[in-house]
Symmetry: C2
Subunit: 237 residues, 2 copies
Amino acid sequence: MVRPRNPLNIGAAARAMANFGFHEMVAVSPYSPVWQETRSAVGAEEIVISARAVESLVEAIGDASVVVGTTAGSRRTLDRELIPLPDFPTWLQQRKVGGRVAVLFGSEKTGLSNEHLSYCHTLVRIPTAVGCPSMNLGQAVAVCGYELARAGLVPTHPLRLSVHQSDLASVQSLYHLFDRSARVLEQVGYLKPKSRRATLIKLRRLMLDLELTNHDARILGGILAQVEWKIGQGNSE
Amino acid sequence: MVRPRNPLNIGAAARAMANFGFHEMVAVSPYSPVWQETRSAVGAEEIVISARAVESLVEAIGDASVVVGTTAGSRRTLDRELIPLPDFPTWLQQRKVGGRVAVLFGSEKTGLSNEHLSYCHTLVRIPTAVGCPSMNLGQAVAVCGYELARAGLVPTHPLRLSVHQSDLASVQSLYHLFDRSARVLEQVGYLKPKSRRATLIKLRRLMLDLELTNHDARILGGILAQVEWKIGQGNSE
């Protein structure tokens, strides 16, 4: 959950997770008083107690192989594929994901920002009514948990997801690669002040779409290191 | 919703209904202050404003052709068929229900009582984890709404349900029939004080299971009226 604002919602989300067999909750920069106020929801004491609060989204999802954003599908996200929630389990199974899957929920007021969405491999939309698209946070977690459990995709059934383990690079190593690429682009003057932010968001998305394996990531990392070295040499000459 | 206790939950349930295209909410004997306190949930103003509060379950579901109870599937209901929620749309479609379907949710604390359950044609269970089976009321409504909308079974798609209209007797007319039967059983001395309540619950269930048409109900009603008349004659002789 990114920047959750309401302690009741955090408790409700924890309970919904417990209802459907999910255990690990991470809050990204929750408002501090909110986080302090969060009380254990019925049957979800363990989840709330073991929940982590972290400062950045990257910290929260670093060890995931796939990051999925949830959205009501407002205009700003229309340039990206939106998977309807009922099709999400199939999408996940077809990707043969070996590692962990992170599902992101935005704040009650604003949802996930474009910046947050750029960290996502794909976006999932709960098919809500046109007249009332935006769901309550705890209820959105409940519905997503239900759909995943319905397809048997809960952490207590790890086999379902890991039968066809691929060697997909972890998000963490992709971020290292991304940071390195951004540095190189900076050094070669590719990033213009005005479009810098948008360019980096596009680059991150591109990098996720490539579905790099760990092997790919190592090779690309090596290339980038070499480029950096060369540029550094040129500068010092 | 039968005896809802928490105004936040009522508002949350209304919002979930709006999210998935449902409109009509009825509260059966809500605690009065609770009902007064209920505030419109985001996007669900119409539902909350038009929601009815009634005294008895029969008033709430009188015009439905099918009544479905939701339950966490605790021991007391194990003697009845429990349909897992993912299978519920298929069950509904196979019955070729022509009229309205009422879905009952019990109070947060106790769920639906055996008395309430005896009014249900069938029971639906949300497949929750063994360690945390009981769902928050608003989240249970959200998940049920999602599953029904997922199958296209929302009131805005009435055709899906009414393509194969059957002439199934309304719950209201079944209750009239049931009251008449109970009166006759009383008069012939079939009901013993000790087992009276349990017998009537069984009778109600049996009557629902028969899936009587309106035609059947009229014939049976006529027979019962005749029996009553005869008994009355015997008494006055």
